[in-house]
Symmetry: D2
Subunit: 135 residues, 4 copies
């Protein structure tokens, strides 16, 4: 885990994110992973939509893995740490750790692989400046 | 309520749509309203994205109202009836009634007003053929 | 708008909250309204789930109204101001204003009415201490 | 893939499920996986909430994996096939294949592992009658 490639963000669990089991619904962790990816850009003064989409590029998720370790509850403050663990010519892998911000209990860990595509949906080389942004 | 302007669709409540109160989360009724609008097109052989967006037009919701009458539960089969209650030169109003498909108990009623806009976001006259589609 | 009854919270628009029109999907404003209600509790040292649900009470939305004024976009910082505009023996009304945190442009305004119910779903008098919390 | 353990369900992509890339947002496939699990019960005359939750048991997702193969679009009819691929004393694995119902193009494949827990959150033996339901 390189420091320069790591981002951290903390927020409260929304009521909308719970389900009738009383805990956070499983799909919402993928949303939280995406929030962390967004923060990676924002905390470095960038913005995914402006840096990628505005020039006709998309980072699309090609694979995702999640391990659920403990339930998150409504109102909990959760911290997500995300780091770029691998950069390839056409994509990158991000790893995530979601923890309770108070107790530091691990709630979920996972990773996503993303591929850089153009407007036609073809896998494309990550431009050098964008690649450098992740390094 | 004109018959030709009415649509009906029935589906099961998803677990993702519940919250920790044990009932369906309030925002999901707006999603269901949209499903009914989509069915209005599909059941007449059309498709909103192809008929509007593909020619640079959008029907955007400008106002919405919901009255929640009884909770919907996971696994319930719910029926949404929607009908175009008013058509104006630049938009239309749709009304909705969500009921339990088994008991017919009313769960929610509401309406949405939509405005036709172009790619620049300007309110635009609803083209005659699209207007005719709703009549 | 009484100061003591007002809350304000600011956050970034999530990618998950957009739809293919390129703006925030209409139902998500109801989620944001709920985030603001949650903040009303958290910013005063309380928590809805602990103050209501833990004693068998629920504040359920009985009616909602939204006027959409301008689109919110991915990555925008939005500010929601919410205030309790009316308190009755069995419920309360909250009003909301969503604005772009940078430009202050109004994006959405609305209100929700909530009723206090018990575990059996019966409308119930708001206990004095909870009523005082909103005053 | 045993026939008796397989379920299939088909539905339209909702507008709410798209994001500004113009395709279905990645987290929604986990929601669709859950819809298929629900159908597994409903199509056999059962219901997850009544068979598990009503007796104090929950099947919680402990691990999930998704491979995204092609984008799903608004209005597409998608078919999800799901089958129980492994049953253990305290849980089970379900595999999924999401395809375009018209073209049969594969959109996403994945699996989820679920653990049976009781109200206290402890991993618990899957009762024999429930285990038999999956066989």
């Amino acid at each position: 885990m390189t420091h320069r490639r790591t981002v951290e963000t903390t927020f409260r669990v929304r009521y909308a994110e719970t389900d009738q089991s009383g805990a956070v619904y499983n799909a919402n962790y993928l949303v939280w992973f995406e929030v962390a990816r967004g923060e990676f850009f924002w905390q470095r003064g960038g913005d995914y939509a402006q840096m990628f989409e505005a020039r006709g590029l998309y980072l699309v998720i090609s694979e995702a893995h999640l391990r659920y370790l403990a339930p998150a509850r409504y109102g909990d403050r959760v911290t997500i740490r995300a780091w770029v663990s691998e950069i390839k010519s056409r994509g990158l892998t991000v790893e995530y750790l979601v923890a309770n911000a108070e107790t530091q209990a691990k709630l979920c860990e996972g990773w996503t692989r993303a591929v850089c595509i153009d407007r036609a949906g073809r896998a494309t080389r990550l431009p050098d400046d964008l690649r450098a942004f992740f390094e």
